[in-house]
């Protein structure tokens, strides 16, 4: 019998590097978004999910538009951009620019941020490391999933979508490829990453896996 490839839980930690670029006005923000590195766009959008949804926005640009420029409508529009809708960072960049351009066209002179409240563009440097936990079957996976750190969940669920593409995450990929559980994989892929905090994703996933384990037990597998 072929041995099942275990799931190795990893974790990622990012430290932040300044790009030296900043914006004081909406036009300045727009021009910088057009020219900064993809890593910087990634940090200010995808990595916002690492902040645990403590605030009411979904990316740093929306946060700044709302808090520092006090442009509420723009901040709602920027918050509504789901980064997981885009295959490439440059597609996401184009959408950010489209929304800002449209806003500038209608409201040509939005206010500037007060001094010291400018938007500072940063980039991440990310370290990935194994946490020392492996799961060889669903039951082991369930136990681990309940207790592993949020950063591990972020890495396997959020970061993986960017790494693997096609709306696929590490968890569902393992369920499908290693365990042959396509239905469970589909259930996990159906969880909207944009609408949940890391803890919310954990809750949904634990529930789905628990159901699967219970069904196995009841059917005598």
């Amino acid at each position: 019998m072929e041995e099942i490839r275990p799931f190795e839980f990893k974790e990622c930690v990012s430290i932040i590097k300044s790009t030296g670029k900043s914006a004081k006005s909406l036009r300045g923000l727009r021009d910088m978004i057009a020219s900064v590195s993809g890593d910087s766009i990634f940090h200010h959008t995808y990595q916002y999910f690492l902040k645990g949804h403590a605030l009411e926005y979904t990316n740093d640009f929306a946060h700044w538009a709302g808090e520092s420029l006090e442009e509420r409508a723009l901040c709602e529009r920027l918050s509504n951009i789901d980064p997981y809708d885009f295959k490439e960072i440059d597609d996401l960049r184009s959408e950010l620019l489209r929304v800002i351009d449209e806003y500038i066209e209608n409201f040509p002179e939005p206010r500037e941020a007060v001094e010291g409240d400018e938007f500072y563009f940063n980039e991440p440097v990310t370290l990935v490391f194994p946490v020392g936990t492996r799961a060889r079957n669903l039951a082991e996976f369930l136990t681990a999933a309940k207790y592993i750190d949020q950063g591990s969940f972020y890495f396997h669920f959020y970061e993986a979508r960017v790494r693997l593409g096609g709306g696929v995450d590490d968890f569902s990929k393992w369920f499908e490829d290693a365990l042959g559980r396509k239905k469970l994989a589909e259930k996990i892929r159906a969880i909207d990453p944009f609408m949940h905090s890391v803890e919310g994703i954990r809750e949904h996933m634990v529930k789905a896996v628990e159901e699967e384990v219970r069904t196995d037990m009841e059917s005598g597998l």
Binding site: I15, D39, E118, L127, V128, G151
Partner: protein, 401 residues
């Protein structure tokens, strides 16, 4: 390290272990300008044994200087924080000269050298080998340009720089990392204390425990706005009976402290409910007790590198009010983990809110503690310093350990 299990986030401990495995046996030298007083010395004191436990050959050296040197560096410090100060060529030369003498005295040979703040910045001219990193702990968001430009002559010669907050970063042409400082939850200043120990300290310091206590712990420095704090307290006092405690320790690299202390004492003179405490160095247990006994903790700074006293108070579950400057907004998420203010009036209003809504104060205090656990504990900061060192030796934006 085991003592941090269950206190610090698991990810930080794990990454520390992994980085420790890779950097084991290598040397890591820290240099600053004071052994005691202020947040930098405090954190270095706690950081060394942890680095050594990870197997890293960590050393901490302090540069020596006379009164003239520290007068000059205090002026440089003030100018970098935006105060009008004139630093003459002769003063810069003396700054360099004292560093040159220190370079002769100190062993600068290490695999990684972390230089803290402007005082020892010129040491980079005497580098031997290894990665040199300049760590800026102060608020340099609006510095006096000519002073900043002069200092940058040295700083650009480093392999990398670290700032506490994004807005402090400069365009220096070297990698600039953003790393907030931290507190040690197990230090005398932050570890749990019994009610009786707290009461004992209050008795010793002559602080009555019969009324709500407002507390600001900081050096006696105009940038910490102790006068503004007294103004806020006076506004509150019309509505709520309370006492104000202003507590600070002298720092050997701050010659202005005495002058500011006198100003504050004069301003407070006639009010027995304002207690000004000049605590001796290493009064960590007393500060811990004061923070735990406080009803509301203030850090109404006008300029602030980071303002670690905010995290200290939040770690103790206290409601905090801080000036919306420097690193304070990173710690205080306005309305969630405390309140950010811009004036004495704003401070007074928020103090009154806390005094009249203990449930809200408790809730914000709890959120504050979790915020500190996730972001501002010493294990995270050591992890970040080692990460910078590792990144400088292993290029890339995604590094597998």
């Amino acid at each position: 390290m085991k003592r941090y299990a269950g206190i610090a986030p698991q990810r930080d401990l794990l990454l520390l272990k992994r980085l420790g495995e890779r950097l084991k046996g290598r040397s890591f030298l820290h240099i600053n300008s004071t052994r005691a007083g202020g947040g930098v010395a405090e954190i270095l004191q706690r950081m060394m044994p942890i680095l050594q436990e990870l197997g890293i050959d960590a050393r901490w050296e302090v540069i020596e200087g006379d009164e003239r040197f520290f007068d000059i560096t205090k002026k440089i410090h003030n100018a970098l924080q935006g105060n009008p100060e004139e630093i003459t060529e002769e003063m810069w030369n003396y700054h360099f000269e004292v560093n040159r003498r220190n370079a002769e005295r100190l062993n600068l040979d290490a695999d990684a050298v972390l230089i803290h703040d402007p005082q020892p910045a010129p040491l980079v001219e005497f580098r031997k080998r290894g990665k040199w990193i300049w760590r800026c702990h102060i608020d340099v968001s609006k510095p006096r340009k000519e002073v900043c430009d002069y200092l940058m002559r040295y700083c650009r010669k480093y392999d990398s720089a670290i700032f506490s907050v994004s807005k402090f970063a400069k365009t220096m042409g070297i990698p600039e990392f953003i790393i907030p400082p931290s507190i040690d939850p197990l230090s005398d200043k932050n570890r749990d204390m019994s009610e009786s120990a707290i009461r004992e300290t209050l008795d010793k310091l002559g602080i009555p425990a019969d009324r709500p206590m407002l507390l600001q712990v900081s050096r006696f420095d105009r940038f910490k706005d102790p006068i503004g704090v007294i103004k806020a307290y006076r506004m509150v006092k019309k509505y709520n009976d309370c006492i104000l405690v202003l507590a600070g320790s002298p720092a050997t690299d701050d010659p202005e402290g005495e002058e500011v202390l006198k100003e504050v004492q004069e301003y407070a003179a006639d009010d027995p409910d304002i207690r000004i405490l000049l605590l001796p160095l290493f009064s960590d247990r007393d500060i811990n007790a004061l923070q735990r006994a406080a009803t509301v903790v203030l850090q109404k700074s006008l300029k602030e590198g980071f303002g670690l006293t905010v995290s200290e108070a939040m770690w103790k579950g206290k409601p905090v009010i801080g000036g919306a400057i420097g690193g304070i907004p990173l710690q205080i998420v306005h309305g969630v983990t405390g309140f950010l203010v811009h004036s004495s009036e704003g401070t007074a209003f928020r103090i009154r809110q806390f005094l009249n809504n203990p449930e809200m104060a408790r809730r914000m205090g709890e959120k504050g503690r979790e915020h500190v656990r996730g972001n501002f504990l010493i294990t995270r900061q050591i992890r970040d310093y080692l990460t910078v060192w590792y990144c400088l030796e292993n290029k890339g934006t995604l590094i597998e350990l």
